[in-house]
């Protein structure tokens, strides 16, 4: 992983050249666990975007009164409170007949949040913190959406539950829907993005 993550990279950076998943390899667990279908991937991505935006704003405001020692404890508790609010909101507004999206409560441990709070919100103004939080959340959501769409399309022949590839003609690939397929899909996606962006392994990293 790249140890020097530039905290200030505008709106477009986290979406492409500084993508939290594809470039910095942060938050891989939700990218693997919540992407077997497009719908849970979208819910996970958008919820994280919301949590990231709110916590970035919150900690940018709390910066003057935050004690330096013991701040991780306070951060964790506040993040947990925000995630609980989002978790309850998603559960309340999610359609009853479909299975609830998993792992929303686990956003507490998402490392993009800690990265945004520690590297950006605790040291910058309100506006850049909020922008950075939003952009990183969207960069995360974008990768999840692409991976979720790919895995649902190849794994079931449908997208968002609507059949796209005719069932008699297309044989669903069971591997992509499994955990092993998540690793393969993410690896191929990152490889493809690197190939498109012309990124090469850094000196001595090969």
């Amino acid at each position: 992983m790249n140890p020097e993550i530039p905290p200030k990279c505008g709106l477009c950076g986290p979406l492409w050249s500084g993508n939290p998943i594809a470039v910095y390899a942060l938050a891989l667990c939700p990218a693997l666990a919540a992407t077997d279908r497009l719908a849970p991937a979208l819910v996970m991505g958008l919820t994280l975007t919301g949590v990231c935006l709110v916590t970035s704003l919150l900690f940018s405001l709390l910066k003057p009164v935050m004690p330096r020692p013991g701040r991780m404890l306070i951060e964790l508790m506040l993040v947990a409170a925000v995630v609980t609010v989002f978790d309850l909101a998603v559960k309340a507004y999610f359609p009853q007949d479909s299975p609830p999206p998993p792992y929303i409560a686990l956003i507490v441990t998402n490392c993009i949040l800690v990265y945004r709070i520690e590297a950006m919100a605790m040291s910058s103004g309100l506006w850049p913190s909020a922008l950075g939080g939003l952009a990183n959340g969207l960069g995360f959501a974008g990768v999840l959406a692409v991976l979720g769409a790919f895995r649902e399309l190849t794994g079931t022949g449908a997208v968002l539950g609507c059949p796209v590839l005719p069932p008699g003609w297309y044989e669903p690939n069971r591997l992509v829907a499994q955990a092993g397929g998540a690793f393969l899909g993410l690896g191929l996606l990152v490889a493809a993005l690197n190939a498109v962006a012309g990124r090469r392994p850094a000196e001595g990293e090969e």
Partner: protein, 356 residues
């Protein structure tokens, strides 16, 4: 008969150079055999090693053709075409030469598949094995896993129903199925059961060990006929292309655990003498476990690696929901092979240091 590379077109070679070079190497010998350290005793190069393995696989391929029909040849052709296409594209992108290693992978993969498998699945498996199993790791000699097994594991996880249901009944009486295309056009030849499935259901005694030995059972295209595999093994061992330690250790590990099961829980599982010729054990041990790229280099490592493969095969066959365990056993062996080498070399270094 070799000739130097054509340089008349200036310093920059044409785009199709890798394809032309490969076509040339196919018919003519390369003028630069590997003369560096590991092959210094003999001008043995990758090309010759690979051709010996292909020759050793021929008895299995012909036996599969005889028992299961022309479909086996179609599968081999499709596998070569799909995998070859991937190799050509990768070679053009990377501007590298096409390597002969693909000749083995493209032949080995269809021999491990059910002979009634849809041909497009064979193509998908071959392309996946070449691309993900080999080229993404850096090409021939750099792959962590056996590319043919990567293709097979992809197919068996992606299409489990097709991979466990498209078997063909063998026809032993001359002329076998030499001129038959047993597929959907010949529904009476299709079957859903293999001896290992019957063993899983507790009916192993319905199949005699003799028919398992001669190949008179449904199974993957190249795995059923034991004499053909033994013929190939003999060629590999005589030419020194495959190492005998891996083969002996695998069979010893398999036999030891299977016999222990016979003694500890008699009647619970198929006996060792029955399990040995059944399924893909011998094909895997002879042609895949002995792969010099994905196996250990040290002799000690080869013994441990072989015993591990044999023992894990018995464990998977007897105690899991899978019928056959050779594929997973060899892939697990591939994972630990570099670690085994490191441990053996470490022990050797420590012993040297402790000597006065």
């Amino acid at each position: 008969m070799s000739r130097p590379p054509d340089t008349s077109k200036g310093p920059k070679p044409p785009k199709a150079a890798p394809v032309r070079e490969a076509a040339e190497a196919f018919v003519l010998a390369r003028e630069t055999p590997t003369l560096a350290a590991p092959h210094a005793r003999d001008p043995l190069d990758v090309k010759r090693v690979m051709f010996i393995v292909v020759a050793a696989l021929m008895p299995c391929a012909i036996a599969g053709w005889y028992l299961f029909g022309l479909r086996v040849l179609a599968m081999i052709a499709v596998s070569y075409a799909a995998g070859g296409l991937v190799e050509v594209i990768v070679a053009l992108v990377r501007k590298q030469e096409i390597n002969e290693g693909f000749l083995v992978t493209g032949l080995l993969l269809p021999l491990t598949l059910p002979p009634g498998l849809p041909l497009w699945m064979v193509a998908a498996g071959s392309a996946f094995g070449s691309l993900v199993g080999k080229e993404l790791f850096g090409g021939t000699g750099r792959n962590l896993f056996n590319p043919a097994l990567v293709g097979r594991v992809f197919l068996s996880l992606a299409y489990p129903a097709a991979m466990s249901g498209h078997w063909i009944k063998p026809l032993c009486a001359f002329p076998g199925r030499l001129a038959q295309y047993a597929g959907t056009a010949l529904p009476e030849a299709l079957t859903g059961a293999t001896p290992l499935l019957q063993a899983k259901e507790g009916h192993w005694s319905l199949v005699s060990a003799g028919s398992l030995f001669w190949g008179n059972v449904p199974g993957s295209a190249g795995e059923t006929c034991v004499p053909a595999i033994l013929l190939g093994a003999a060629l590999l061992l005589i030419t020194g292309v495959a190492n005998w330690r891996t083969m002996v250790a695998s069979l010893a590990g398999f036999a030891a655990l299977a016999l222990a099961m016979d003694v500890l829980r008699p009647g619970a599982f198929a006996p060792a003498y029955w399990q040995l010729p059944a399924g893909g054990l011998l094909l895997g041990v002879v042609f895949m476990a002995t792969d010099p790229v994905t196996g250990p280099i040290t002799n000690g490592g080869k013994w441990v690696y072989g015993v591990l493969i044999g023992a894990v095969t018995v464990v998977i066959r007897d105690f899991t929901g899978y019928r056959e365990g050779v594929m997973f056993a060899i892939l697990l062996g591939n994972i630990v092979a570099p670690l085994l080498d490191e441990i053996i070399l470490g022990l050797r270094v420590r012993r040297r240091r402790n000597e006065p």
